[in-house]
């Protein structure tokens, strides 16, 4: 187990290093001189050169890379060429926003998917199971932003129950925070929930076929209690993996929902950065996203081992 932990950690570190090179290299080939864009097209060449020097853009790429990486490791994300503001606090702020959205969205998804998937599996030959199955297929097919638009039309504009958009930090007004969180979290959660339902279903079906469960049922336990007592832990393993993968996609996938609901999250920061050619900002945001995904995958791996005792010995 320890060995596996060390091995996974080593893989994580190497992956992070490779990712940083990829991200930096990609940004370096972006056309358009960030200093010139920051100053406007008609800025004099001297002014551009001065800014390039001020931000160290005139140094060799390798120096710039190690400087950037070194800064990141110390939590220094650098200063934006465009807004002249430290990037670190901005990224941290936006990351929190997106994290709230994604985590609450995932909770919604899980709350929907766990029971629905289990019912679908337990009654997979009956009408109720089939109906749920069809519903989940439909859910998977609807893009999250379309779900968001529909929710706004119904609950905000027609019924007036909830605000159409906006974001309030939880600390400044918890009531408003919750109100504004409901619709975006629902649009993420409904769609992700539909995807997740299908995985829960097949995981539970797998478990139902296992010998120990057959035994339990042979002893007279009804399907749901049997599952509850013996199966859930095992069914959780594949579901947790999928959850981890989904969390990763959602971090960036949330950008569309952020746009629909005017939420200042990491995705919108990235889009703004791209259109302003705020190169360093884009580089930092992409790196943060990639790190987040890799770390989540790492944690999922660990959890995987913790949840499934069989895996502790295997491999």
């Amino acid at each position: 187990m320890i060995l596996r932990l060390v091995e996974r950690a080593a893989v994580l570190v190497i992956s992070l290093a490779v990712a940083s090179v990829l991200v930096f290299g990609f940004m370096a080939v972006l056309p358009g001189d960030p200093a010139r864009v920051a100053l406007g097209v008609n800025a004099s060449d001297e002014a551009v050169a001065a800014l390039r020097q001020q931000f160290g853009l005139d140094r060799p790429l390798t120096t710039q890379y190690f400087d950037w990486l070194g800064g990141l490791l110390h939590g220094d994300f650098g200063t934006s060429y465009v807004s002249k503001v430290a990037i670190g606090p901005q990224v941290a702020d936006r990351f929190q926003v997106t994290l709230w959205l994604v985590v609450v969205g995932m909770v919604v998804a899980l709350v929907l998917a766990a029971p629905a998937g289990t019912v679908m599996a337990a009654r997979h030959r009956r009408l109720s199971g089939l109906a749920l199955s069809a519903l989940s297929q439909l859910g998977v097919a609807i893009p999250a932003f379309l779900a968001g638009i529909l929710l706004i039309m119904v609950f905000a504009v027609k019924l007036g129950w909830l605000p159409a958009n906006g974001w309030t930090p939880p600390a400044s007004d918890p009531g408003m925070f919750l109100k504004q969180l409901i619709l975006p979290a629902l649009s993420l959660g409904l769609v992700q929930g539909a995807v997740l339902t299908r995985y829960v279903r097949s995981a539970v079906l797998d478990v139902l076929r296992e010998d120990y469960l057959r035994t339990a049922r042979a002893k007279g336990l009804r399907p749901f209690p049997a599952l509850w007592r013996h199966g859930l832990r095992n069914a959780a393993v594949p579901v947790v993996t999928v959850l981890g993968l989904q969390l990763a996609t959602l971090l960036i996938g949330a950008v569309v929902v952020e746009r629909v609901f005017v939420i200042p999250g990491l995705g919108s920061l990235l889009l703004d950065g791209v259109s302003n050619r705020d190169l360093l900002l884009v580089q930092d945001v992409v790196m943060v996203l990639v790190v987040a995904v890799l770390v989540v995958n790492f944690l999922v791996d660990l959890l995987y081992v913790a949840l499934d005792p069989r895996l502790r010995v295997a491999r």
Partner: protein
């Protein structure tokens, strides 16, 4: 005169704020007393968030929209009719040779960092444009040969040549007055003498302005104004419908206006702006060197149908680069009337029938919409048009604006009085016309009557020469809660004036 041609490169990053509704800073406020609105606050929804708060080094219309007239004052400003009226300068005189301006300044103005505003600050601000500003707008100050503080309340500015343009530019951001001791953090913490002081900025979301209790003029009604930014026009509309904001400062989705006009909770204000939506030609391309081709394109476009289709019929048709609020406005829509047959024939005669033109559009909603209509209409007279989209601002600015690598483009030029700046051989239009240059020079150096007369001729000149096509003038479309007062009809300045807003 040189000022127009050098200023030529006036700024179009301004177009960032395409349909920016800017309110005009007019005389004294409608409110009285020390704090008539008490603790009331207001939230205004806008579309383009600034990238920085420092307009001395960052282009774009979004920054002066927030700061000019609200946080910063100038010596002079424009009232709603376009007249130049006092601001921090109580009055001014012009010498007979029209080269020396003497301003008498107010004596009770204070910056929000505590320092008093004096003539020395004015000299500092004017000189700083020449030395420290990096945006192209700085060329507006090139004509100034000296600025001198005669006394704390008397400022003398000497020009190297008479210029009508200079005093006008002083009403724009170039004329903003900075504190000698308050410029360390222009990008994040601006210090001015205006009715509001900068409060906070939540990037990607909103900017908060607080009432400046030490303001030297009439105190504004609202204690706090939040400017909230929306990328998506529909989200902006929804925010007003659900009460998150009180004002839509600039309606970007005119089609959706019906939901407000039919609702008694809201008022809809419709006026004009300085934003000419221009179908620009790259006049350095061989095909556009032939005036017959340029005129044919103008005649091939059914402007009425175009406006109906891509801006819901809101806005005004103009035939040249002058909005109706300028003193030298004339209706020139008749210069190139819609005539498909004539356009087709002219293109054939010019040997341009079947030519392929590249229409490179910025990724702005109105440009995308109008571009598709333009393509369709031009193809009906025998041209081939390929559309490609360039991300705005970065990609469009580099490709079209800087490198002039395009045949045609569509963008709103929102700068006030920008005819001379836009139709210039150094600008992306690459319009080379000595006649126009001399008309503009005569307008800038002449007296008021000569200015109006020559500007009229200049406007007619570019229209007849078909230097570009003017699709329409962006409307000032503002939607607000019914009980708000002080919203101007026409938006003719760079600022969104918050000081006159009140709740009845």
């Amino acid at each position: 005169m040189k000022s127009y041609s050098t200023r030529a490169i006036a700024l179009l990053g301004a177009a960032l704020l395409a349909a920016s509704a800017a309110a005009c800073s007019a005389g004294s406020g409608t409110t009285s007393g020390s704090s008539p609105g008490g603790d009331q606050s207001l939230t205004v929804g806008l579309v383009a968030e600034p990238a920085s708060l420092d307009f001395t080094t960052t282009d774009g219309a979004a920054i002066p929209q927030v700061l000019l007239g609200n946080v910063y004052n100038g010596l002079v400003k424009q009232d709603e009719t376009g007249k130049i009226v006092p601001d921090l300068a109580k009055s001014w005189t012009v010498s007979p040779d029209r080269k020396t301006y003497t301003f008498t300044l107010v004596d009770n103005a204070k910056f929000t960092n505590g320092a008093a505003f004096t003539a020395a600050d004015a000299v500092f601000s004017i000189n700083r444009v020449k030395t420290a500003w990096t945006t192209s707008l700085k060329s507006a100050m090139d004509v100034v040969s000296a600025a001198k503080a005669v006394s704390p309340t008397e400022l003398q500015v000497t020009l190297s040549a008479p210029s009508n343009g200079w005093l006008f530019r002083m009403t724009t951001r170039v004329g903003a007055m900075f504190s000698q001791t308050g410029i360390d953090k222009l990008a994040t913490d601006p210090v001015g003498t205006g009715p509001y002081k900068f409060g906070s900025w939540k990037r990607g979301d909103s900017i908060v302005l607080q009432r400046n209790d030490g303001y030297w003029g009439t105190k504004p009604f609202f204690n706090q104004v939040t400017l909230k930014y929306f990328k998506d026009p529909t989200a902006l509309n929804n925010a007003l419908l659900t009460g998150t904001i009180n004002v839509i400062g600039t309606v970007q989705a005119p089609e959706a206006l019906t939901q407000f006009t039919s609702n008694s909770k809201y008022q809809v204000i419709e006026g004009t702006t300085n934003g000419e939506v221009v179908l620009s030609f790259n006049n350095s391309r061989p095909v556009f060197k032939d005036i017959r081709v340029r005129q044919a394109i103008r005649q091939a476009i059914d402007h009425k149908a175009l406006l109906d289709t891509c801006f819901a019929g809101r806005g005004k048709l103009i035939g040249s680069m002058v909005p109706p609020t300028d003193p030298w406005y004339e209706d020139l829509t008749g210069v190139a009337p819609y005539d498909k047959a004539k356009a087709t024939a002219a293109l054939k005669a010019a040997g341009a029938a079947g030519a392929t033109l590249r229409l490179r559009l910025p990724t702005l909603p109105y440009a995308t919409s109008c571009g598709q209509v333009v393509k369709s209409q031009l193809e009906q007279v025998g041209l081939k048009v390929t559309i490609d989209q360039l991300e705005f601002p970065a990609a469009w600015l580099t490709t079209v604006f800087k490198n002039a690598d395009y045949d045609m483009s569509i963008i709103a030029h929102v700068e006030p009085r920008d005819l001379g700046a836009v139709f210039n051989v150094k600008y992306y239009t690459r319009y080379d016309d000595p006649t126009l240059v001399s008309l503009l020079a005569a307008a800038d150096s002449g007296d008021e009557a000569a200015q109006v007369d020559n500007m009229k001729k200049a406007a007619r000149r570019i229209s007849e020469q078909a230097a570009a096509d003017w699709l329409f003038l962006l409307p000032n479309l503002v939607v607000a809660d019914k009980n708000l007062t002080g919203l101007p009809t026409n938006a003719i300045t760079e600022s969104f004036d918050l000081s006159r807003l009140a709740r009845s």
